[in-house]
Symmetry: D2
């Protein structure tokens, strides 16, 4: 996406549906010299809610960057009772990775990072085990081990949060992190913690989904990326994919096949998040194209 | 599969795993002039169970058809404590279709039937509504309406069973039949009632799975074919498939997209059943290739 | 899509990309009381071309239906050098089906038609063989047989065209029609003849693609829906899908598995066409969502 | 697959189809105490060729390992005119990776290697560019740069071959290696060079398949793993997969989406090769399950 090469701004908007919203927003942009690069709009006609993502070039846009939000609010936001977020393409978000003992998702994220596939910084990796330190070292990323268990989870949370704050982390990616995220972190990063669950949710919530899938005798396994909320495995779903299996596959085959699903589904979610293409509304995601 | 043109026999076998079973079975067949056309074998090494499907030509097979079962039992069955079933390719099974108000699965089954795609007879269609009678008439198949409701279900079951018996029905296909099957029928047709459920089980068991899928905000919908057991939507799964959906899809879009999944997944299950490629063991299916 | 219940208008637009087009079109609509139901926009930044589909309610739209095109042209069309087409949701298009000897696509189309899944009329079916007459009769649709061969094709074309004209046919669907369409018809129905080709084009152009796929030893087979142009199997692709196959599959297995692909891919293309969601530009399709 | 934990032997067999082959092979094994773990058999009834993969435990097998081949040949091989290969599960094959400038396939292979997912040694990486040396260094694998161009290819081939011989390499994996492999290497490693081509072959043979796919306006892109033969992109296909694309995707989007396909399809092929599950016959592969 070479649009990232020129500086752009992105607005993610939702508001009660009314006539004239698109016209109003595009009028605001074009009247100030903003050339629209992408416009994706969706109306939920059941709930009467309007959703929009618009990205425009700042090259000849006449409003200074630090005044856009205020001016947009005056022109459109207040009038249509909008909830909106404004992003700039030249900001490089900071992403923290949480990992336990499995390396496949971690490698997939770091390989993309090292190849420059994403516009992101990874200032640190956090784990409840020492196992992945060697991988973090290979890629030159600081690794912090917290001896998190069910009992120490809430006690360690403030230290974790402090570390994330110090590193100015914008969002978290749980790359098969096998501990429950403390509420302190969930509250601090609302819709900013991406998890990969190794089943096609809502089937097989919780621990050991491959074992449960094997027991039930399903003919496909899945993986689901979602934002973390206080209810386990119940947050807004970002993406899902599946793979076919057969009676010949044992649990360890499901685990092995599932790894390929997990890493791709997780990385696709990170990509959508970085591209500011996800809007969360009422525990569901709008994924703009 | 032009092997059906010559007369063949098929054995579906399972037994405790021991050394020498394949050798014993193939020895029995080849010593009597049986040329093996397909042999598919699987061992569940966790449960130590051996599964096998073998199909051979009867052209030069020296044992008369009505003695094969006894002779096989003497040679192999007793020795290895086998459970097995013997089928002949020239037998044309009789299939009853159960339907309610939706036509898509019914048309898909009947179109294949009319085109001669399957070696099957459809002596009757049973419904709890009059709506599909016109479709049955188009294809010249007798249509029986039973005013089944929650309250009349068990009362009407003996009449249904009698009708199925009179027509010498071998197995039932529930083509989006929206009533629970009475236990009398389930008992009479064990692993011989194929249902299509409009979700990727075990997610969204029960009624209105598309509404539930919409509410949860999943990114894929599914369909599952399975044999009916007394526990709702919990029988052995035969096949599953999914389709991607997006936030733009409303419940009616899910229903519409789901219909294509349902009819294909159901027909594939019927095809596997007719080809004697499904073996049920402990609420799971072995699907031979 | 219950939007069809209220009367709507749809515009499909493409033009050289410039700033302000969305604003201009939405301004035209909202200034006359048109409530936008769907707006989908795409810019080809390589070719600098702007594409848009917009659908709006005519309930409170102040411009009379027969003046909309002219007024839109004055307000937006001329200014932006637009190519555009205007459709109304209450018009029921007429679709002719061409078929040869295979029934699977025909049944799939007619089953949807009979179930009222699509807003379409099917005034006639044309074939080069008598085989499918019985299917046409079942659904009560006139069936015309033309003894088309390589030699009689161009000679019979004017009669075919006359028949299509008499029936006021809007578009043609080739449901596994095994003859080349004469240029007279292609010229008369530009981007209005939908074909299903039984391969993932551009692989296996021409006759017997399943045989060619088998010979090459591919691990997946496909089906492709496309608009017919004078160059065989080279028209704009509407949709494609694939199924996995294995070394165990013979040519007849590919044919059998392929049928399910073909009918679904073809019907999806017809659905997109009917929903006015396809725009053809430079031998490619823009498929609006 | 915990069967690798105990020492097993694997036979891959093909021969003219005749009655009694399975019985003969299983008889040879069971008469010497060989417990069969997997048996997968396939008969090509068009070509009258029999294919088989059998894996058995060596724990109580009475024939010494270095005599198995000879004894099998005497008992079965000669009688049925078999072509066969014998493998042992405790042998660790040596795999050389060839790479150019793109890292995604390389990382995917090396991440699995580092995680111990495969039973393989990677003694060296060969490239025509210096770019991937840093990745090789991260994983501690020797990296050899050969300045291969169209002109120097054949001249450098003997040196390459010598290096591969010195390292006792068993097979090569081309992880997006952008040079044609010299015939000297192809001859030295028949059906032992695995390539990943970034299209669903036979569509888009040769250079720049994503550009060609974009030009044609296809709705899905693919990747194909295959063994290298002297004819470019025409060797036996091992595996294929596809991803859906839309008109919104530019060439760079196809390239980006394609990378995920390529790496997974390549790694799956390596996995099948390592598991001795691929048999090549007449430019096609039999992939045992």
């Amino acid at each position: 996406m070479n649009t990232k090469e020129k500086k752009t701004a992105i607005l993610l908007i939702h508001c009660p549906d009314r006539a004239g919203i698109v016209h109003s927003v595009t009028g605001f942009l074009s009247s100030h010299g903003g050339n629209i690069l992408y416009l994706d709009q969706h109306t939920d006609s059941d709930q009467k809610v309007f959703f929009m993502r618009v990205e425009w070039s700042l090259d000849e846009f006449s409003i200074p960057v630090d005044e856009i939000e205020e001016r947009f609010n005056e022109s459109c936001g207040l009038k249509y009772e909008m909830s909106y977020r404004l992003y700039f393409s030249d900001y490089v978000p900071k992403m923290a990775i949480f990992v336990s003992k499995l390396s496949h998702c971690l490698y997939d994220l770091l390989a993309r990072y090292a190849a420059g596939e994403w516009k992101v910084k990874i200032p640190l990796i956090i784990s409840n085990h020492p196992d992945m330190k060697s991988v973090a070292d290979m890629f030159g990323i600081p690794y912090y081990e917290f001896a998190v268990t069910k009992d120490t989870r809430d006690e360690l949370a403030p230290k974790m949060l402090e570390l994330l704050r110090e590193n100015e982390v914008d969002f978290l990616v749980l790359a098969r992190y096998m501990q429950i995220v403390p509420e302190l972190l969930i509250d601090a990063f609302p819709n900013k913690i991406i998890n990969i669950h190794h089943s096609f949710l809502p089937a097989f919530v919780g621990a050991k989904p491959y074992h449960a899938a094997y027991e039930r005798g399903v003919k496909l396994i899945g993986a689901t990326s979602h934002y973390v909320t206080p209810v386990l495995d119940a947050g807004p779903i970002i993406g899902q994919d599946i793979a076919k299996i057969s009676h010949k596959n044992r649990v360890e085959d499901l685990v092995r096949k599932g790894k390929d699903l997990e890493k791709i589904v997780l990385s696709r979610a990170v990509e959508k998040h970085l591209a500011r293409k996800i809007l969360v509304y009422h525990n569901k995601t709008i994924i703009f194209s």
